[in-house]
Point group: C2
């Protein structure tokens, strides 16, 4: 059992994804990660005028909804949008909400 | 002041739309209305195994989020997805969540 489990992409429900995206901070986080590159969590939460605890809660909500995954490198935790998987499962969705084309 | 006000499309926020769509029944209602045709409300709620009151609440949530509008014809109330306006404001979004292309 991984420390930070993510649902299999086939088990990710569209309504859960939409609900997770239906918050201004979470939508902004997803837009920040829209290129699909992993970023240190600290870099992401530094971009938002919110507490680390609040941001950690948003990360967890996004992870449990199937939108992001974490990559643990020693003491550094990166966060990454599951762009390739999500584009395949829900064609056009990420592009529509982040303004980035699916094949960018 | 109309009886059932809807926000101007320019004031409709993406996160509000996503939040409204982040519920299985509301997502199913929007899919049922995906062709942009007005339908009697009664026809829509008949399709769901839920109470009229619950469905009325979902209609209101969708209306206030900017997704649908009502058309009152005497005692018949129709509900219509604001497809053309939404496709213009959030290109690709409705297609991604309903599975219908924007120009269908």
């Amino acid at each position: 059992m991984p420390e930070y489990p993510v649902p299999e992409i086939a088990d990710v429900a569209l309504e859960g994804v939409l609900k997770a995206l239906g918050d201004p901070t979470r939508l902004a986080i997803v837009r920040m990660l829209a290129d699909g590159q992993a970023r240190p969590k600290a870099e992401v939460w530094d971009a938002f005028a919110t507490s680390k605890a609040t941001c950690a809660h948003h990360f967890k909500t996004l992870r449990e909804a199937g939108l992001v995954t974490y990559e643990v490198h020693g003491r550094t935790h990166d966060i990454r949008l599951r762009k390739i998987e999500l584009d395949e499962r829900f064609p056009g969705l990420l592009g529509a909400v982040t303004g980035a084309p699916a094949d960018a």
